[in-house]
């Protein structure tokens, strides 16, 4: 059972620079990450670049932890992209728009590896 958090996703500058370069290592390094504040990282017992597993009712994904000052307690931020969206519901609540921010999630330390984008896509194709 992981720590309960509120997941939000959004843009970062490096994510934007690699919008047309999503199969690259740069994109992977930037987007398959999860930003947390220092206290949250200490509580989870993870250091920067160590893998964490994030679960929601809609899916789970392994990403690398990244310390980010300015992230409030109880909030985690995953840059918009395939890893964040593995955790998002397809329910648009009648508005056509999935809820990409404010998702109840759990986060925990893991030994599992982060899937590269091609392998992540394969999980949908089964």
């Amino acid at each position: 059972m992981g720590t309960k958090v509120n997941l939000i996703s959004g843009r970062t500058i490096v994510q934007g620079q690699n919008l047309d370069n999503k199969l690259s290592e740069e994109y992977f390094k930037e987007v398959a990450t999860c930003e947390l504040n220092k206290a949250e990282m200490e509580r989870l017992g993870v250091a920067a670049d160590e893998p964490v597993k994030v679960k929601t009712s809609f899916g789970e994904v392994v990403v690398k932890a990244k310390e980010k000052e300015g992230t409030p307690e109880g909030i985690i931020f995953i840059p918009m992209g395939p890893w964040a969206n593995a955790l998002v519901s397809g329910n648009t609540h009648g508005a056509g728009m999935p809820q990409y921010k404010g998702i109840d999630a759990e986060i925990e330390k893991t030994e599992e590896e982060v899937l590269h984008v091609k392998d992540l896509m394969k999980t949908y194709m089964k």
Binding site: N6, I8, S9, G10, R11, T12, I13, Q15, G16, Q17, N18, L19, D20, N21, K22, L23, S24, F58, G59, K68, E69, G70, T71, P72, I75, F77, M80, G81, P82, N85, A86, L87, V88, S89, G90, N91, T92, H93, G94, A95, G96, M97, P98, Q99, Y100, K101, G102, V117, K118, L120, M121, K122, Y124, M125
Partner: protein, 434 residues
């Protein structure tokens, strides 16, 4: 080496049009000035989809444009519930043919607004939008509010060209005589620049807008000491700055549209702007993401009457985003083929909807390989609009700007690809009719 000035950027909704690049041997070799780091990355280019291809037994096999276009047309003509999705990172001329194709085959046509500012569109249809151009913001605004938007990461030139840092006719001293308010959950790079930063609890936008509205309309007494994690003191300071401004501007982003309450948040943002009108000039604008997402909304509206999520299967346009947005359609596993152009649902749709998309025939038209390519069945590489092809796009304030062609290419432009698919589809239908 040739220097090209007044280059227009085809990345984000800022559509910066004062870029200078160097071109040598038919390649952009240097971005000299004007572009942000994200725009520069776009102009300098990345790895391409090198050839048209068709997937056979799980493997993509290169083919000619003619073969890929023919295959695409066969898939679309045979589909019972086709989805045509994307359209925001290409030009209006291609979008127009897209709507024509949707009409021809009775498809659902949707664009990336349905995963960015779709809720803003719904709110604007509900209560209107007291807005202006970015030129007016540059020349007049002395108070800028970014709400649920982080331009430092997503629209890196926005502050410099159009808002807080820009210098205009009545704002010649730039940020010296302007105030910046940022409302966000995280203390972002944009928030760090703010005179007032309202660090709000996630998902409490509606409450904070309501508190500001009440205060602007003179009902300060009904506002409690804290609203959505923001102190009444900070709210009062915000209202003071809003009332004192000669021209205030609210820019709002995905922080408002991606959370619970969605379009209701935007309705409240617009009504807050109206409440500010009882004191001074105030305007509001969504921070549109892709460089031509505003343009496909324009094209789709003038062609069908509606800006996104339009179902043409009935023979007339039917609009109901919560029922027929791409996400809804895919989650219900309703569509049986999809054409994806100038967008990447593989990266940007919820996993639940990708599951279905990856199992149906998918035609991808794009200059670049991306997660959608992993399951696409027909690949049609396109020229890069704004680098290798020209055409019209709409900036986030709905100002049309023409993208320039900087270099020659053998890749075919989106408009021509769409025209050729439409022609093939019509030929198939004609044959079937015989």
């Amino acid at each position: 080496m040739v220097e090209i000035t007044d280059v227009v950027c085809s990345l984000c909704g800022c559509v910066c049009d004062d870029i200078v690049v160097e071109v040598e041997d038919n390649k952009v070799t240097k971005v000299k000035k004007g572009a942000c780091s994200v725009g520069k990355s776009k102009l300098m280019g990345h790895g391409r989809i090198e050839s048209p291809a068709i997937r056979e037994n799980g493997t993509l096999k290169n083919c000619s444009y003619d073969e890929a276009i023919k295959k695409a047309a066969e898939i679309l003509a045979a589909a019972r519930r086709p989805l045509l999705y994307g359209w925001s990172s290409t030009v209006c001329e291609a979008d127009k043919v897209g709507v024509e194709l949707a009409e021809e085959i009775g498809a659902v046509i949707d664009n990336t607004a349905s995963v960015c500012h779709g809720p803003s569109v719904l709110a604007i249809q509900d209560v209107g939008l007291p807005s202006c151009t970015l030129g007016e913001v540059k020349n007049r605004a002395d108070l800028v509010i970014y709400w649920g938007a982080n331009p430092a990461a997503a629209h890196a030139n926005h502050m410099k060209r159009y808002s807080y840092i820009s210098k205009g006719y009545w704002t010649e001293e730039g940020k010296k005589n302007k105030k910046l308010i940022v409302v966000d959950v995280r203390k972002t790079a944009t928030a760090k620049m703010a005179d007032v930063f309202l660090q709000m609890e996630q998902g409490k936008d509606y409450l904070v807008f309501s508190a500001l509205r009440a205060m602007l309309l003179g009902y300060e007494d009904v506002v409690p000491e804290e609203v959505g994690g923001v102190s009444k003191k900070d709210l009062l300071e915000t209202v003071r700055l809003m009332k004192e401004a000669k021209f205030g501007m609210i820019f709002f982003g995905m922080g408002v549209t991606h959370t619970r309450a969605r379009h209701n948040n935007v309705v409240n943002a617009i009504q807050t702007t109206r409440a500010a009108h009882t004191h001074t000039k105030f305007s509001i604008m969504p921070m549109r993401g892709h460089y031509n997402v505003a343009g496909i909304n324009q094209v789709c509206t003038w062609e069908t009457g509606y800006p996104f999520a339009v179902d043409l299967s009935r023979g007339y346009a039917w609009y109901n985003p919560g029922e027929i947005s791409a996400t809804d359609l895919l989650v219900r596993r309703e569509c049986d083929a999809a054409l994806i152009i100038a967008s990447d649902p593989g990266a940007h749709f919820p996993g639940e909807s990708i599951k279905h998309l990856s199992k149906i025939p998918v035609i991808q038209i794009d200059p670049f390989p991306n997660p959608t390519t992993e399951f696409a069945d027909v690949l049609i590489p396109a020229a890069i609009s704004g680098v290798e092809a020209e055409g019209n796009v709409y900036r986030m304030d709905n100002i049309p700007i023409r993208l320039r062609k900087l270099v020659d290419t053998e890749y075919v432009a989106d408009e021509e690809i769409m025209k050729r698919i439409l022609e093939e589809v019509r030929a198939i239908k004609e044959k079937e009719g015989e």
